[in-house]
Symmetry: C2
Subunit: 348 residues, 2 copies
DNA sequence: ATTAGCACTCACCAAACACGAGTGCTAACG
DNA sequence: CGTTAGCACTCGTGTTTGGTGAGTGCTAAT
């Protein structure tokens, strides 16, 4: 059986309708539409064909038809048109980024809430991955006799700071010496490789400072650890307002699935190799995500991918709109990140 | 009608039972309990008295009785005994604070997740309030030709940092000059009072540096603004797993109520004058919170109150347990905060 | 004062029923 | 041959009905 023009149109109409109302759509309601002048019987025949081809499903004998995952796939691949954002929507998105965030964490949170507020789905953001990043510069700021703030600038221009404890009776000269030493040793080091190799290789020549260096490196490692595998979620309860979750059982199931952030992390990690990705229902590898859809986008600074964000919603998702929003958000986030690191672009 | 010993015992039994099962409790189930040897009829008489006194309610004629808010109030005021935490629970709480958080924000988040995980209710934390805090010391760390990190230490020992943009062609000498100037002018200033008075009073003598100072003060003000009125929430979906929220309508109502973080902020703010507070159902001022209970505790550093945290759950709440948990959490959080600011205690 | 006994109430559940949206099939039509 | 009208059939949904049981209040006996 081949897919002709009319079948396509009918399928699209069904999907559009279903996305809007979440109710199975029947032949009559379609034939009544102004832009269709075929009878319901004809539509029934076509629908029966479409069902045979695997694009439609019937929840039960005498209900309307519901699009299958295959239909959604076809839809996003060829039928769907992007819903252009109007000025109001663009403004709304911009507004989230206007309150200047001062660190990456803030920006990531802003992105997540913006996404979830605007799409009304659940948003997830994978923060810029520290692992492959290199150390460009380190400063120590003494705050009191016994503690200092270690400020670290990465080659990508990000800043992290860590509170550290100073050994007793340290003076300005010592501090400068430490700073110099740290910079010499750690410059251009990858953050994830740092500790293991380095503390050993420099241990012999450090003498009395050794304990201190050790604790600094540990603090740094802690930072990297803590950053790893984090996924920022927002709008976890948004989905509950969609009719597919109107019974508590499904809803709980979904909420429990979200607890396992690791699954989401893996998912986003995998998606980070693609500019955009759309994963529909069963296409998801994780068992607990087999009846939701996930749309992601990867954000960059210049050409370098930084992280991935996306939204999670029912398979009956407003794909066109979501993609447009992600697209615009990708732009906004990249700009905001760039604003954060300003002129200090990586040289490569 | 007076409240005798036996009435009290019966009331307590009803409350305990109801807290556990969420089902109206009947006279027979009570009389069957081993430690009661009075007949169900007697209990019925007593219950009828208790109802007249306003401690019990009947959802409908032939259901059991349910404790009223007045009963809960009596319960927390005089009957309730604190459920001592066992070693396992203490350990569990400690564990959340063990992963060293490096800044206050991290600690606040840890507290919130710890609270919600352990109580299985919704947790809220009011971060340490910056407003009344004074500036002790400011450092500028140059990160690149055009930007610097401003590091601020408060009299309470907290640290905040803000990224700022430097004017063109600045050298080390300028930076030192700026730092000195900022410290002279802003030392001992209250963070919330800072901008308005200060920028004007110093504007005359600044000359060319004026624009820069202005932007620094703006960045600082931004920080204070952003910190204000934030409430960290965790476990918003926990409540959905309690039977009172098994129908979607109630659940949604509750979730929407949480959106209005401002209400929660006001609530916590008000509670911050008390060591502990328990607010039951209608006692809540905010309309949308009239059928939940809120238990809060204020955490301190030394004698100075820093902020408030608490949990939000059904009126049928395990008050004894919750209070014990909050108590222990208060201790843990205060310790953790102290660890963060270490030896640098406020002098007063 | 306590308790046994009893009639009464009412939420809850399941079975029965009507309703209606939607289908598939057949036969007629252009 | 594609299209359409007509019709019998299916099946989820909403409503009604009756039975069940937990629980009550009242009365009379202990």
């Amino acid at each position: 059986m081949e897919m002709d023009k009319r079948k396509m149109r009918i399928l699209q109409a069904i999907i559009d309708d279903y996305i809007l109302t979440a109710a199975p759509v029947g032949s009559r309601s379609l034939s009544k539409r102004a832009d269709f002048n075929i009878s319901s019987a004809t539509i029934r025949n076509e629908m029966s064909d479409l069902e045979e081809m695997g694009y439609l499903e019937q929840p039960h004998t005498s209900a309307g038809r519901v699009p299958s995952n295959k239909a959604y796939r076809l839809y996003v691949n060829s039928i769907m048109q992007r819903a252009q954002l109007n000025e109001t929507e663009r403004k709304a998105i911009r507004a989230y980024f206007n309150q200047r965030a001062n660190q990456v964490e803030g920006l990531v949170r802003q992105t997540a809430t913006a996404l979830s507020d605007i799409t009304r789905y659940t948003a997830m953001v994978l923060p810029p991955q520290l692992s492959t990043v290199r150390i460009k510069h380190i400063s120590l700021v003494q705050l009191s006799p016994e503690r200092a703030l270690l400020v670290l600038v990465t080659d990508t221009g990000f800043i992290r700071d860590v509170l550290i404890r100073l050994p007793e009776g340290i003076d300005n000269y010592d501090l400068e010496r430490f700073t110099k030493r740290l910079n010499e040793t750690l410059h251009d080091m990858r953050l994830d490789r740092m500790v293991v190799d380095e503390v050993t290789s420099m241990s012999e020549e450090l003498g009395a400072d050794r304990a201190f260096f050790q604790s600094v490196l540990e603090a740094l490692e802690d930072q990297v650890q803590q950053n790893a595998q984090k996924v920022e979620l927002a709008g976890t309860t948004n989905l509950l307002f969609h009719p597919e979750y109107s019974d508590m059982a499904k809803a709980k199931e979904f909420l429990v699935a979200l607890e396992g952030k690791d699954t989401l992390y893996q998912m986003l990690k995998k998606a980070s190799s693609m500019e955009f990705s759309i994963t529909i229902g069963e296409e998801n590898e994780a068992e607990e995500l087999k009846d939701v859809s996930i749309v992601t986008a990867t954000y960059r600074i210049g050409s370098q991918p930084m992280g991935t964000f996306g939204i999670l919603g029912p398979t009956r998702m407003h794909y066109g709109r979501v993609i447009s929003i992600l697209e615009y958000m990708q732009l906004s986030l990249s700009e905001a990140l760039l604003g954060l690191i300003e002129q200090d672009r990586p040289e490569e």
